[in-house]
Symmetry: C2
């Protein structure tokens, strides 16, 4: 059992920190994007250095009160809110937002955990380099949170998840010690990889205070195309063909369903739909190639080979930077259209690539037996990451479907599990999926996770209730 943070303790803590570190408990700290939980916090502190973070953590440890680390607040699984239990200290990263250094010759950037993703991208661009992590919330998500949740996004196919982009960390561990691990090395085999343990631990094993991040050359020639594919299996074959021809030059490979295009029409989104009538399936392929390669020509040759192999039967290659942006607008407006239609249940799942066609067929069939649904299945096909979202039939509303959400999600997640997939591809566990982790997680892994948590955070102060259920 944790102790709640009290007013008296908050006053005590305030004497140990600079005045600027003490924040008002504003509503924005207690909300999360899905509006599913209302958080609580007895105080909000915003330390500016790892030493100040350590002061807070040691204080929390001494008094047995919980600490909830808070980045940009954009997480979708409630890892950043504390809806119940003892009132915590909310520890905001916002004052550790500096880009500490850019090393162009190393292609490395060192940022405080509070640095906003868009600012990191901009700092990389100023050095004529690329920080490839890119996702919808990049204007407010902070590096510490992005690493704590191992964020994904649209460039994972080529550059990996947040995890793969991190060379080193500075972090405060649950005992209040500071790990000075801001290495900028590509190779460093000196003991257990604490970096990868903290990445993805969602603030339950410590607080990331800074990170050294990998930068990449900016691909000079970008090009995009829509290609109409026969079915998801043909899309996979097209992906393999594209990678065989162009290697790492394939930057993104997104699956879009006819239903997604239909939703754009139905909800009157102001984007130019690429085909009319809508095909059943299409992919958006993006290339990023060296200057020496003509990327439009490369797309044309890929299309010609795919046509020959009967994988595709129609296509559009963007003829200008503006048209490329229009193509992406189609892809990026689908979630907005989904919101207007109103999903019964959404799923952030991943599957072994070769299982995807079978999964889609089986899940569609099982749901058709369960009720009258429409399915918009789309996502980062190159990563095996699907957003398999279930909607009411045309003309009906999700309120008519009562408690179907639970049944639909159980069906989808059971099938994903059976087919060796994951019920959380990129969003993490947070507080939303603790039950799913208990249900689907490997028992040996769960036991090891609990042992590690108990070893590093014996008093359980770090973000209790996230990832692992807090002890009663």
């Amino acid at each position: 059992m944790m102790n709640p943070m009290t007013e008296a303790l908050a006053q005590d803590l305030a004497t140990r920190l600079p005045a600027a570190a003490i924040r008002e408990v504003e509503p924005r700290y207690l909300e999360e994007p899905r509006g599913q939980w209302a958080g609580q916090a007895a105080c909000v502190v915003a330390p500016a250095t790892a030493e100040e973070v350590a002061e807070v953590i040691r204080f929390a440890g001494a008094h047995g009160v919980p600490v909830v680390p808070y980045g940009g607040g954009t997480g979708l699984v409630g890892g950043q809110v504390s809806p119940d239990g003892a009132a915590p200290i909310l520890l905001s990263l916002e004052r550790m937002s500096a880009i500490r250094a850019v090393h162009p010759r190393e292609a490395v950037l060192v940022a405080g955990a509070g640095a906003i993703l868009a600012d990191v991208q901009a700092a990389a661009e100023e050095a004529a380099l690329l920080f490839p992590l890119s996702l919808a919330s990049e204007g407010s998500a902070r590096i510490g949170g992005l690493l704590a949740t191992n964020a994904g996004g649209v460039n994972v196919l080529r550059y990996g998840n947040a995890r793969e982009l991190c060379l080193g960390l500075e972090a405060v561990l649950p005992d209040g010690s500071i790990w000075h691990g801001l290495r900028r090395l590509r190779k460093d085999n000196t003991g257990y990889d604490l970096r990868h343990l903290l990445i993805g631990a969602e603030g339950t094993l410590g607080v990331i205070t800074a990170a050294s991040l990998r930068l990449f050359p900016r691909p000079e020639r970008r090009a995009a195309a829509f290609m109409v594919v026969r079915d998801p299996g043909a899309a996979l074959d097209l992906l393999a063909m594209a990678r065989r021809r162009l290697g790492e030059g394939v930057s993104a490979f997104e699956l879009i369903s006819g239903m997604g295009l239909e939703f754009l029409r139905e909800t009157e989104r102001p984007v130019r739909r690429p085909f009319d009538p809508s095909p059943d399936w299409l992919v958006l392929v993006e290339l990023g190639l060296p200057a020496a390669l003509d990327s439009e020509a490369a797309l044309e040759e890929l299309f010609a080979e795919a046509l020959e192999a009967e994988l595709v039967d129609d296509g559009l290659i963007a003829q200008s930077e503006q048209q490329r942006a229009e193509f992406w607008a189609v892809r990026e407006t689908i979630p907005e259209a989904n919101k207007h239609v109103g999903a019964i249940a959404s799923h952030d799942i991943s599957l072994p690539l070769s299982a995807i066609p079978d999964f889609i067929a089986r899940a569609d069939a099982a749901l058709a037996k369960l009720g009258d649904f429409r399915i918009n299945c789309f996502g980062h096909l190159g990563d095996g990451n699907l957003h398999y979202n279930v909607f009411p039939a045309h003309g009906r509303s999700k309120t008519e479907y009562g408690e179907a959400r639970r049944e639909v999600s159980a069906l989808v997640h059971d099938m994903v599990h059976e087919m060796e997939g994951s019920f959380s591809a990129e969003h993490g566990i947070g507080r939303l999926k603790v039950g799913e982790l208990e249900r689907y997680g490997d028992p040996a892994k769960l036991a090891a996770m609990r042992a590690i948590k108990a070893a590093l955070d014996p008093s359980g102060i770090m973000n209790p209730g996230a990832v692992l259920r807090a002890p009663e």
Copy 2:
């Protein structure tokens, strides 16, 4: 204190395993490539399945006897030998050598931990794909050991270390439980990353029994060139230029010193030296490009730009596959020449890329003050990984240098540490570098490592004395 494995216990264990799992204690299990230690073992077992491994581990746990996992035996830091303390069970992976599955559509291969690297490479090639891990001992190193030590090699620049090539693991944890984590997913954010914790733990946190591995498209156009650079700083600028022009197409970027070429001449190695007289510094650049790109032309253009920028002043582009092989033979024969000359001290170090020119200058100067040495500095410059090896002056032998090794290594490692580098870039800690880890390791990280070890392996049976000093 561990109990030694005894003859009686060995007989008991033998009754719990199939007869084929019981091996003779042959000398090959007790030797290591550097001949620095003689190992001991009371028995050798070679289980064929994770379940049999679990049986061994549970037995060891019940009796408090140590277990030393044994892959190909090629490790260079003694992680696979037990020279002192209680006699262990040596657990060989050799009977788990099957390639369990190849999934061409997913670009994934699943191998038992005993699979030999060259066999994995061949299985990938049969599927027209590439498993890019490549190093000198690939004919005998086994996947389990390669992952347990997070092996590196020549393709890390483009494809990453062993760690980055692994999607999932099956492993037996120190309590004898089996973690069924053979995921084939690119995205899976479901709790702490046990995979990355076991990778690089050198068998001290469990036994890897199988792995799912990433495969890649095979670059269709390969080309290589030697380029003579002004100095290591110019080599770094050339690397940045090459990556700006060709992105991930730069597969390898190796630094070679004039001393390396000189050693080839001096020891009469049968390779064609590329320049005469030997320049001070050169690099070997390898490209692997899509079929649509002319890789020789790309190298010519790179050379022309580098000449213009005064980074290079001479160069040779391989004109045939045979010549490309000859170029690589120069690079790969340098370690052999080194052996013939006889090093006083060798160092497998890494540095932030931009620190490399300064490090080389400072270390050379400091060693010149210390004594009359010759230095052959070469290695994977693209990874910041140098083999900074120190030799006797011409005409002298290392025996004349008495105890200089210790002093030289302390000087080099102290300087590497001060410049934020690593004293073990790719070989790991094993038993050789436990003292260095204690000396240079971050105290908070070391404490966390010890806590994790105690939590997962409370009786300390897994490879005691490797990575972390065994309790007295």
